[in-house]
């Protein structure tokens, strides 16, 4: 079972390539010499060779059977069809198509027309709304609304003579040009210390 240089294990590892003569010539020679002297390895080589033959037999097919008729006819037809699709169609041909099969093209035209009209309406409406001011721009608070809200958040009317919140805050409120009198005025109110929520 032993060669001087080669073990059965080494030889068997080489068998898959040996059976197809895919080893280097020197390695082929070494394996061949081992098989001549080692019946178990020779038997293993025969198994590998039979498996390889089975593979080749299963996939072998006579070329003439497959290539008859030639593929060229089908390929040429396909290429010609692709070429026709790429080529621009003459106007007369398009008109003929339109007359011959009206339902689909007319339906598409109708849909396109409706879409165009809808787009025009949307544009017209946006232009019209663009002229008006934003909703709520001219709204005014009802009489006493602000005073009521101020009392709700903790601002309370003070006695006459006391320094009002407005007087204290007026230097800071000046930029807001809050009216000093009237129902929305802060005059006469002082913060009571309640936290505003």
């Amino acid at each position: 079972m032993h060669d001087a240089m080669t073990t059965c294990f080494e030889v068997r590892e080489k068998l898959p390539l040996f059976v197809g003569e895919d080893l280097e010539p020197e390695a082929m020679q070494i394996v061949r010499a081992h098989l001549a002297k080692c019946p178990p390895c020779a038997q293993e080589a025969r198994s590998a060779s039979r498996a390889r033959d089975a593979f080749r037999d299963a996939l072998h097919v006579p070329g003439a059977d497959l290539s008859s008729p030639s593929l060229w006819g089908a390929i040429q037809s396909q290429l010609s069809a692709e070429e026709r699709e790429r080529a621009p169609q003459p106007i007369a041909e398009l008109e003929a198509l339109d007359g011959g099969a009206p339902s689909r093209s007319r339906f598409l035209r109708l849909v396109g027309g409706i879409a165009a009209v809808a787009a025009l309406v949307v544009v017209a409406l946006s232009v019209e709304f663009g002229r008006t001011e934003l909703p709520g721009a001219n709204l005014q608070a009802p009489e006493g609304f602000v005073v009521k809200k101020l009392e709700e958040v903790g601002l309370k009317r003070v006695q006459p003579g006391a320094r009002t919140l407005f007087e204290e805050a007026s230097p800071y409120l000046e930029p807001f040009q809050r009216p000093s009198s009237g129902p929305n005025s802060l005059a006469g109110y002082r913060h009571t210390g309640r936290r505003i929520r």
């Binding site: 079972m1 032993h2 073990t7 059965c8 294990f9 080494e10 068997r12 590892e13 080489k14 898959p16 390539l17 059976v19 197809g20 895919d22 080893l23 390695a27 178990p40 390895c41 038997q43 293993e44 025969r46 198994s47 590998a48 039979r50 498996a51 390889r52 089975a54 593979f55 080749r56 037999d57 299963a58 996939l59 072998h60 097919v61 070329g63 003439a64 059977d65 497959l66 290539s67 030639s70 593929l71 060229w72 089908a74 390929i75 040429q76 396909q78 290429l79 010609s80 070429e83 026709r84 080529a87």
Partner: protein, 241 residues
């Protein structure tokens, strides 16, 4: 509208002793694949027709090896030539036309099988590092009938179908087309060493499957003799390359 513009000298020369370049013996020289491709690139229909006629047998052979059906093989081969035509301008004249054709057919065939049967991926380790394998999904419906209902040829094909595509590619190109590993390496975009490893591993895997099938069919393949530990103790574990 004509598909091609005009006839190139490449095809005019074929079979035309007056116009063709003659060898020393006087016979007209066959235009090379590269000549024909140049002709087709210039719009010569007959040049492309000649390419198809020259290579359809091999295209069909490889396609059939993958799909095992005449109709599918013809569809695949036809699609391969259509792709060749659509990409003629991208042909690299540093390579053989057949290398390109084999590559296209192999990719088409693998795509075809993926659509026919879902694949699951697993990872195995070999000397080049981790490699993604696409193995058939065992849970899905197999494309073949149960083993005991079909003839031997179909059973063997079922064993072949169990091989991952990258093993199968190398084995088909080597066993059926007889290509050298260097050319296969170019086609599959791998190194020569990797191709030899795949060939070695693919043959081994197929043998295991085939012997399993033979045993199931009641035909006992030669049972390999066991190697004693002593025999293998000092042996390298890697495949020969």
């Amino acid at each position: 509208m004509p598909l091609f513009l005009e006839e190139s000298p490449a095809v005019k020369n074929k079979g035309d002793s007056e116009g063709g370049v003659e060898r020393l013996g006087g016979a007209p020289q066959e235009p090379s694949d590269h000549d024909l491709i140049r002709g087709a690139q210039e719009g010569d229909e007959r040049a492309f027709e000649e390419i198809v006629h020259r290579h359809e047998a091999r295209a069909l052979r490889v396609a059939w090896s993958w799909v095992g059906s005449r109709e599918d093989a013809r569809d695949l081969a036809q699609e391969a030539f259509l792709r060749v035509f659509r990409n003629l301008d991208r042909f690299d004249f540093d390579h053989e036309f057949t290398t390109w054709l084999y590559k296209i057919i192999t990719n088409l065939a693998i795509d075809h099988l993926r659509k026919r049967r879902p694949l699951r991926s697993t990872t195995v380790e070999h000397e080049d590092g981790d490699v993604e394998l696409d193995l058939p999904d065992e849970d899905s419906e197999p494309p073949w009938r149960p083993m005991d209902q079909v003839e031997t040829g179909t059973k063997v094909r079922a064993c072949i179908d169990r091989l991952a595509p990258h093993f199968r590619t190398v084995m088909i190109l080597r066993e059926i087309e007889g290509l050298p590993c260097t050319e296969i390496a170019e086609i599959v975009g791998a190194t020569h060493v990797t191709v030899r490893w795949r060939l070695h591993r693919g043959r081994k895997l197929f043998q295991e499957e085939w012997e399993k099938m033979e045993r199931a069919a009641g035909r006992t393949p030669d049972s390999p003799a066991r190697i004693s530990e002593e025999d293998g103790a000092n042996s390298p574990s890697g495949p020969p390359v």
